[in-house]
Symmetry: D2
Subunit: 285 residues, 4 copies
């Protein structure tokens, strides 16, 4: 890893000993793709000759440089390419799925949710709004208004000091795109970065940050199989910025757990006694 | 999560009931209780001779008066007392459970979640932080730091303009209480109303508002089976304020659903074409 | 005030004993208007024969009924109609100004700010984004993108459980309107209710709630002197909902102040010793 | 600047061309100090032999390393050390003042506010809650509950994924400290990172992030002239993390301004026509 690549990477933003990703290794990004439209639809293959996942991976690497190490995982891989081992070695996971959400096993969806709560970053793209990991983490239906008729989308920044908006034009212009409109049934984002408009006059909260457990989630709606949106340099930059923002804050990964402390913990220095979920249903009773 | 699949029939989830705040009828509150400690523990019966659920119901009625109509539902009732009919006629549901979260059926937990997303208010009390409906709606573990050693709890208002804080002293003093401390693994509350401190020096975000779908959720941590906290007039007032705040904003109850509009919807006046989940997994593809 | 009018109004959402403003008197609303365009521009007189302030007042009364008592105050009144006495008797103040922001005295602007911090509600309309009271309370420039070329504005609800969105169509359609676009330089709203789009493709956070001190502020951008926007029934309903939402949570009005408590305040029952600003510059030192 | 210093610096977090702080120069931090107690009070000189500002500067440099270039500015310097030139060359300004807030000129206070709105980061420490720049930016009184009686303060993290919490123990223990308690009259923080408790049972939102204009503001309450709190390694780490977080997102510094665009801006490619404040009072009318 060269000095240049380190400069290109925000990894350095977690400084010092507590840095989640040490200076000695790059940010580990796993790009998950459904890879079904690519097999079925000629139009999609035209837009993305090497698959949508490759375009998304390239978005990350071209912007974050050698500061990242990427891996691709696909729906049809064993365990969808998301084994416990892979997730344990993933700092940020990107997710694109559309026509086969239901084919993702509940076990893997829960595993992704658990890793996010333990600190892994998650960048959910476009139709991933209905993916199992995202809806589990949101708790809502994540439905929206919708149309696929070549709308022009304008992506406006409403949070100019946010790192995900760094270097992004105001607005991003996407000539042809699927329309996603409000009401988008998500929790209120912790940080709202972008709002889009469409040819039909609809608006959409298109760039949304959420914090869940110890992990960060960025949802970004531009991007579709029917249009070459992931070839758009500004869209690619946003995805890379989002991956960068979502990097873990802490080095260790641990799902939050019930922790019991005596009243005099402060005086005795006694540390917490973690209590397992099973016994803790009634907190020991 | 099957919330999405339930969207396939938005009509079915429409109660057709009148406005929640219709002029002609009071706010309909269902008080759900686990009612197990009361049967098992003499101490709990001393604190709550008529059951914890009765104390919670009284908190609501004594503060909201004839403006409310209450109903009690218990874990051991058929369908836990929360049939589709009961929820359809409930404006706000309060939830207290502790030792038997796992005995709540997934079907009922999902039903409660669906009604919240469709507009029903939900007030989650104390150990309900680990209940199925709440954790489904939050998407996080909802774990916390904990101790049961007769801490003094002080409940401080950090949002003085919030209606839930109306008429509440600063701080509420609770002489004996279980300790719940940070980190409380919840999403960032949409509105943070109260923060508590405890004898051991811990702090806790004890009054938290969340908006999910078309429904409002208020979590309030004071209250326990081992201490007569629900007899505390300030605590009772907060619960009533929370019920009042959580009342539905809209008359009709409907789970958010995918809606397709043509580009020229505005010119033609064509209305949305709800699209069921089944066909919409890939939005029709 | 009849029972019917209270039920018809969202005032009913603060029912019973917890109501912040007693049932025995109506909500006192002061409608402030600049009243300059009306004198100068024939077009404005056509849109608003009795002045813009009258249209705004009518919006409130027609929706909140006998539950409100309104008063009109104008720039050219002594002290702009906003004496200490008037503000002390105002629960919610609405503000419309455009061409004469600078003519509002600093003294009155500071008085309004102080009353908001002490609990008075404030509803800021359209070009009031640049008024002295609003920019003082926000701390930012409150600038925006702008054009006056008869744009169509669509006002979309992004927070369907919010009381200000109750009864509002999705979207509100305004045929002709001035364009206000992002970036709107305001603090992140505490509650974002509406987002608008315009003919030119711009978006705008058009309905924003802020909490400052003990007071609530609602900013709503639709409304202009050059178009009859305040005659639009949905716009009028939003204004009334906003007035209702902004009502004070507490009966007493008091600017937050420095308060000194000894360590053993809890044991001794000693109450706080308010410390005046002057002596407290260095907190007594 | 060495590779090491770049790793130690989060400068790299704004990657690519738009990075606010290019790879070729360090983050420029100006540490502002009142420097009055140091002259007057022997106790303060004992706690901070080289002045409080030196301790704060050391907190930044020891944690961010050669990635930063610091400058000290004091109240008694010409223009308080904060000329237009100095601010133009400051990426992040830290502010500590206590007994002489009123001696800061309105001109300099307004200059600081303007630079924050244009993108400069601001870290406000402890008694700076009542400083002119902070209260101007907040719009509220920023008052609080208070006592100076050697309380123990515990600083708890409520936002574990936040970069400012990286590497910080849960809780930070401060043996002796001034008490600052709720209600703290600030706007709701955009991101709440820390909540403290004190010996007297009070709580305080002690680590708060705000976004204003294009700038970021971090308020952190631990730190006092009467106790050696700025010698505490965890407190120092938080200050450094806050400085790092507050760095500008954009390279250019520009106060938000009114911008007029024609309806067909999109088709013609016509760019915005900035409109000066003076002529724009009524937006040109």
């Amino acid at each position: 890893m060269t000095t240049t690549s380190q400069n290109a990477s925000p990894a350095a933003s977690t400084t010092g000993a507590a840095a989640s990703t040490s200076a000695s290794r790059p940010l580990r990004v796993t790009v998950w793709g459904e890879n079904r439209h690519e097999k079925r639809d000629a139009r999609v293959r035209e837009n993305y000759p090497e698959g949508m996942h490759s375009a998304i991976r390239d978005a990350v690497t071209e912007n974050l440089g050698e500061g990242v190490a990427t891996r691709i995982a696909l729906l049809d891989d064993p365990e969808h390419g998301l084994s416990e081992e892979v997730l344990a070695q993933t700092d940020v996971l990107t997710w694109w799925g559309h026509m086969a959400h239901d084919e993702v096993s509940d076990e893997v969806a829960e595993r992704v949710q658990r890793h996010v709560l333990a600190g892994m970053g998650l960048v959910v793209l476009h139709s991933g709004h209905w993916s199992k990991p995202f809806t589990r983490l949101m708790g809502t239906t994540c439905t929206l208004r919708w149309r696929n008729e070549r709308d022009r989308e304008l992506v406006w920044t409403v949070n100019p000091s946010h790192p995900i908006a760094a270097g992004i034009p105001h607005p991003i212009v996407i000539d042809e795109q699927e329309m996603y409109g409000e009401h988008f049934d998500i929790p209120v984002p912790d940080e709202l970065v972008f709002v889009s408009s469409f040819s039909g006059g609809e608006v959409f909260r298109s760039g949304c940050c959420f914090r869940r457990g110890k992990g960060k989630i960025f949802y970004f709606s531009p991007g579709d199989q029917d249009y070459p949106v992931y070839q758009h340099p500004d869209v690619r930059r946003v995805i890379a910025n989002g991956v960068d923002w979502a990097r873990p804050a802490a080095a260790e990964r641990e799902v939050p757990f019930l922790d019991r402390y005596p009243t005099d913990w402060f005086l005795t220095g006694e540390s917490g006694q973690g209590v397992g979920d099973a016994e803790a249903a009634g907190k020991g009773e």
